[in-house]
């Protein structure tokens, strides 16, 4: 397998490299024929970076995140995560994954949902409790641990799912449109919080979004993708400062980057 080679190659990736993809291809076999979801995707992501993936629907953003998480196996190319194969990284519980929908288990309270990974990873009870409280506080949900998911608004659920991914303190966070279903204000608020969390913890974040302002606001690096087959059309290193109040979005630099992203998107876009 290609993955096996990757492990040996990765040795030369610098200490700071968390994700290193080289010429990754992924083709799905379906009943209608093959769908090439990723083509020749190469990317290096350093420690502590915040990387956004943006692109039209079906361009392979989710697929790429899933490849990093070892939920899909590439059909070509090499990829390594923390110097291991993605599969090894998954076994080592190297990352937390936040799915597009909150995906809380409806039969568990919010508290127990957050504890789910901790139970599976064998933390003791006291520690489970401590961490659950800590992360719920982090996402502004203290006091809601006894509620069931359906008793919370969509935004609160989404925050709980982020808390769940944070609970076991992985250094790598993979987030697939976590704020897709939220309204703009809640989204702004969560963006702010996510940014401050990232600044505090120095985690490496891979973040998929449809929203140009969101991508520009959050990222140190923006990866623009285009579909059929999914490939990278542009990688933009953000010139914005680390400190970002919300109204940075009205700044010229911001609009400049947003414009470049939009152009990149439109270039890759066929018809609607």
């Amino acid at each position: 397998m290609a993955v096996a080679e990757a492990t040996t190659q990765v040795k030369d990736a610098g200490q700071g490299t968390v994700v290193s993809a080289r010429n990754v291809d992924l083709t799905f076999e379906t009943s209608d024929g093959a769908v090439q979801a990723l083509r020749d995707v190469s990317l290096e992501i350093g420690k502590g970076e915040f990387v956004s993936f943006i692109g039209p629907s079906g361009c392979g953003k989710t697929t790429f995140l899933r490849v990093v998480a070892a939920l899909e196996t590439p059909t070509g190319g090499d990829i390594s995560v923390n110097g291991m194969t993605p599969e090894e990284a998954r076994k080592a519980r190297a990352y937390g994954y936040v799915f597009q929908a909150a995906g809380l288990y409806p039969w568990r309270t919010i508290g127990k949902n957050v504890k789910l990974p901790l139970e599976i990873m064998g933390y003791d009870r006291a520690e489970q409790d401590r961490r659950m409280r800590e992360v719920l506080q982090l996402v502004d949900l203290e006091g809601f641990d006894k509620k069931y998911p359906w008793q919370l608004s969509g935004g609160m659920q989404q925050r709980a799912s982020i808390a769940r991914a944070l609970a076991f303190d992985a250094d790598l966070l993979l987030m697939d449109e976590p704020f897709g279903a939220l309204d703009e204000i809640v989204r702004d608020h969560l963006n702010e919080q996510l940014l401050s969390l990232w600044a505090r913890t120095k985690k490496t974040c891979l973040f998929v979004t449809h929203s140009i302002p969101e991508a520009v606001y959050l990222s140190t690096k923006i990866v623009v993708m285009s579909p059929r087959p999914g490939r990278i059309t542009d990688i933009i290193d953000s010139p914005l400062p680390a400190e970002r109040p919300l109204d940075i979005r009205d700044s010229a630099a911001f609009i400049e980057v947003a414009h470049r992203v939009r152009e990149g998107l439109r270039a890759g876009h066929g018809d609607a």
């Binding site: 899933r66 998480a69 070892a70 939920l71 998954r90 076994k91 080592a92 519980r93 990352y95 937390g96 994954y97 799915f99 597009q100 929908a101 995906g103 288990y105 409806p106 039969w107 789910l116 990974p117 139970e119 599976i120 990873m121 069931y148 998911p149 359906w150």
Partner: protein, 307 residues
């Protein structure tokens, strides 16, 4: 609760016309039909009015009760007015009297058929189906092979299987339990297998990202997610179990049991006793169903259908 039934009657508009027409038709066919239709129409009206009220615990109980009561009254009236012989269809009053008089026998039969036969078979059959479902869950091969064949076996009519099982397992409740096991096994299996597959890909992927093994995934994700399906199966199986245990007794039994009593008393023309047993069966069956439905509410409180 300002308007009474009378107000509803006035507002009903087309209602009275309709009922009047029905009464006239009834009178034309047979005069004895008039009171029957009148009672029916009256009760229906009260019920329509009750149902239009705000939904409370009282109305949700009263409406079906009144409906059932109406059926009983109509039954009694038809039997009396048309002089139906008691050896064909006894009136509810006679059935009630018989139930009162035969409590010990009814109880003995209930214990034999319901507690020993149906319940044992239900627990064994559903339990075995549950375990089998979990066991074959890991093998898509077995699933694809077993389920179609299972549908085939589930289609075997009980009147054919019961004599065979009585031959194999003897006359007492064991053979009745075996009939029940055969009847409930596949419906339960199919539902549980469907339930175990009911998790969505994202929920399973979440478990993968935690590198969770088979057992944690089963216990923490798949079984809880399967519960609505499991209960669907359990509910279907309640009525199957009772019917199976009773019918199996027609093909050989000790001298007790609901099916034994029914078949024997028909031969003796004690139709009131037959209906007394049927009443017990219907009550027990409905209660059994209700109990499982209640358990379902408790266990799958989180499911949208329960909220």
């Amino acid at each position: 609760m300002k308007h009474g039934p009378a107000a509803g009657l006035l507002r009903g508009g087309a209602g009275p016309l309709w009922i009047g027409a029905a009464l006239v038709c009834a009178a034309l066919v047979d005069l004895r039909l008039v009171p029957v239709v009148a009672v029916w129409a009256g009760a229906w009206w009260v019920n329509t009015w009750l149902a239009a009220q705000r939904r409370t615990r009282v109305t949700t109980l009263a409406v079906p009760l009144l409906f059932g009561l109406t059926l009983l009254v109509l039954w009694e009236m038809v039997v009396r007015l048309f002089g139906v012989p008691a050896v064909i269809l006894p009136p509810p009053s006679a059935i009630g009297a018989r139930i009162g008089a035969e409590v010990p026998t009814l109880w003995e039969d209930f214990v034999q058929t319901f507690l020993r036969g149906a319940l044992t078979g239900y627990v064994l059959g559903c339990g075995a189906a549950l375990l089998t479902a979990v066991a074959i869950d890991r093998s898509p091969f077995l699933q694809r092979g077993l389920l179609p064949v299972g549908n085939f076996i589930a289609a075997l009519p009980i009147v054919g299987t019961a004599p065979i099982l009585v031959m194999w397992f003897g006359f007492d409740w064991e053979s009745k339990a075996a009939v029940v096991v055969v009847m409930v096994f596949f419906p339960m299996l199919v539902n549980t297998v469907a339930g175990l597959a009911a998790t969505d890909a994202m929920q399973r992927d979440l478990m993968k990202t935690y590198a969770a093994g088979y057992w944690p995934t089963l216990l923490k994700l798949r079984l809880p997610a399967a519960m609505p399906f499991v209960f669907n199966g359990l509910k279907i199986c309640t009525t199957l179990a009772l019917i199976g245990a009773i019918v199996a007794e027609f093909f050989g039994s000790p001298t007790r049991g609901m099916g034994f009593r029914i078949s024997t008393e028909v031969g003796r023309l004690s139709l009131d006793m037959v209906w007394a047993e049927i009443t017990v069966a219907a009550l027990a069956g409905s209660a059994f169903y209700g109990a499982v439905a209640l358990a379902e509410r408790r266990v799958t409180f989180w499911h949208p259908s329960q909220r």
